[in-house]
């Protein structure tokens, strides 16, 4: 098992934003996390990545506890994420955004950097090449030297995923990757997520409001409401679950396209 949470919970003042969450995610799975607004989905990501520390419970990645780790340490142990409201280095170039994500794998010391000796030049060239390769995969190579904030919204989302992958994670967390995308872009995104999972041997946990995407893509789904897990299982099961239908206020949970 890659990721396991044990009775994970967090309180903000009097509000229990997440209560007794027990995720179990196996290597290579593509899992969805859904729920109405304010259900606590982003909070789960913030707990998993060390942005918040839990009020109770624990998180295990490949059996190792992540308790007390800072966000950068969580990333170094193999979890990468994107943010609901994109957090790029918006004033920097597209290429630099990806180069920064390679950083913690580099071994060039400060002295070598300052004197431009030893591993400095070989490593700089490697990073440059690897970053360009990744951008090519994400169809952003032509825009390599543009400032990140000048990219159209959909491309910013793609860049954020590319950047997350550059940290070489085993688990990728995507927070509403399709938000603000048109149906065509959403389709492309669905294909891309499926493809990168195989290509980069990833496990993916994604939050999404677009039910078509979730039902189409995910093998298993967890449903949260007011911080409580109200359902979990395969998409067909979730679609028929009365509590889920109720949580979405009688909203029809649409069929996945075939």
């Amino acid at each position: 098992m890659l990721l396991k949470t044990d009775a994970l919970s967090i309180k903000f003042g009097g509000l229990t934003a997440l209560d007794d969450l027990n995720l179990k995610i196996h290597s290579g799975e593509l899992v969805g996390l859904i729920g109405p607004n304010g259900a606590g989905k982003t909070t789960v990501f913030n707990l998993l990545t060390g942005v918040y520390s839990p009020s109770g419970g624990n998180i295990f990645l490949s059996g190792k506890s992540l308790k007390g780790l800072k966000p950068f340490q969580v990333t170094q142990s193999g979890i990468a994420r994107t943010f609901q409201n994109i957090r790029l280095f918006s004033e920097l170039s597209v290429l630099d955004n990806v180069k920064i994500a390679h950083n913690y794998h580099l071994s060039c010391s400060l002295a070598e950097s300052v004197l431009r000796a030893g591993r400095y030049f070989p490593e700089e060239e490697d990073v440059e090449r690897e970053s360009a390769k990744l951008l090519e995969i994400f169809n952003l190579k032509d825009k390599m030297h543009e400032t990140a904030k000048n990219l159209p919204y959909g491309e910013q989302r793609r860049l954020e995923i590319a950047r997350a992958l550059a940290t070489r994670p085993s688990l990728l967390l995507l927070d509403e990757p399709a938000a603000g995308m048109n149906p065509q872009e959403t389709n492309d995104l669905t294909k891309m997520i499926r493809w990168i999972r195989g290509e980069f041997a990833l496990t993916v946990l994604l939050i999404e409001h677009d039910m078509r995407l979730v039902m189409d893509l995910c093998e298993r789904i967890y449903v949260l409401e007011y911080g409580i897990t109200i359902a979990q299982g395969a998409p067909e099961k979730i679609r028929r679950d009365p509590r889920v239908i109720e949580a979405y206020l009688g909203e029809e949970v649409p069929d996945a396209p075939h």
Partner: protein, 318 residues
């Protein structure tokens, strides 16, 4: 030969040309003692401004305590040469190490603060350093540390200035520099990329403080004297003005800012009371018309390339 190495060679070549030219002009006394003094001051101020820029401009931590680290360098180096009779080069190294060590010790707790709080803390700490010196009879207390040998000359000042600029430029253009810039741009995103923000803030602060100490050593060994009144808040403010004027996050900007301000105050040498007014007005005008500083966060070479390209497009259109 790759591009980076070529740029380094160009930089060394230009540095050597400027050095030899100024040196020849000084030797032949075409540049008299007054301007010689100001050129050396400019070199020292470039060291201070570029090192402060590493903290404020590249790492995005608002420090206004640079004078404190400069004071440490000025006094530690003076102790080395006067009291211990050690050579200047050792004194300079000691100044760097002492200031960097203090920067590290101060940085670890202070850098948890951000924005205005950090600014106030660094300001307070530099005043504490000054008051401590003021009350230490071993280094002359309120009357200052006298009898420091006049060891700073143009080659020392220019050489160390060049070294500082070169080393800081290399830091900024390495993976470590990208980490600093990432912290400035978005701390949470940087952490999410596996970057230890606290470590890199401390690193920038430590290195910046070390070079300020180096500037201080040159300073006290130029004026025969180290006096607490040379290292007040006004000094920190001076350095900050140079950095902001040139552009936060631009090394060439800091160089230009330092040179401009040194020569503006030289030109106003006969009207010292005007100096602060001019500074204030410059800053206000800058904040209104060009809040990002003269060069923004670009380097001069990028700016010139940009201009050439724009020129090219205009020619094409015509």
């Amino acid at each position: 030969m790759n591009k980076t190495r070529k740029n380094d060679l160009i930089m060394f070549f230009c540095g050597a040309v400027v050095f030899l030219l100024l040196h020849a002009l000084m030797e032949t006394e075409i540049i008299g003692p007054f301007w010689q003094l100001n050129i050396i001051l400019a070199c020292i101020n470039i060291i201070l401004a570029v090192s402060l820029n590493l903290i404020n401009g590249f790492t995005g931590q608002f420090s206004i305590g640079h004078a404190g680290f400069m004071a440490i360098g000025a006094y530690v180096s003076a102790i080395m040469t006067v009291k211990q009779g050690l050579p200047f080069i050792i004194a300079i190294l000691a100044a760097f190490i002492a200031a960097a060590a203090l920067g590290f010790v101060i940085g670890v707790p202070t850098l948890r603060l951000s924005g205005d709080y950090l600014a106030i803390a660094t300001l307070g700490l530099s005043e504490i350093i000054r008051v401590c010196i003021l009350n230490t009879p071993y280094v002359g207390g309120a009357s200052g540390f006298m009898g420091i040998p006049h060891l700073t000359n143009f080659p020392w000042a220019f050489g160390l200035m060049f070294l500082t600029v070169y080393l800081i430029k290399n830091i900024v253009n390495s993976a470590h520099g990208r980490a600093l810039i990432a912290v400035r741009e978005n701390e949470l995103a940087a952490e999410t990329m596996g970057i230890d923000a606290a470590k890199y803030k401390t690193l920038a602060f430590t290195i910046g403080a070390g070079f300020a100490g180096l500037g201080g050593a040159l300073f006290s060994h130029y004026f025969y004297l180290a006096h607490p009144s040379s290292f007040t808040f006004m000094r920190s403010f001076d350095i900050l003005t140079m950095v902001v004027l040139g552009g936060l996050g631009s090394i060439s900007g800091s160089i230009i800012g330092a040179v401009i301000l040194v020569f503006v105050s030289a030109a106003l040498a006969d009207f010292p009371e005007w100096r602060m007014i001019i500074y204030a007005v410059t800053l206000i005008v800058l904040m209104i018309f060009r809040p990002q500083g003269l060069l923004g966060n670009k380097e001069l070479s990028e700016k010139m390339l940009g201009l050439l390209r724009k020129g090219g497009i205009r020619r094409d259109a015509a």
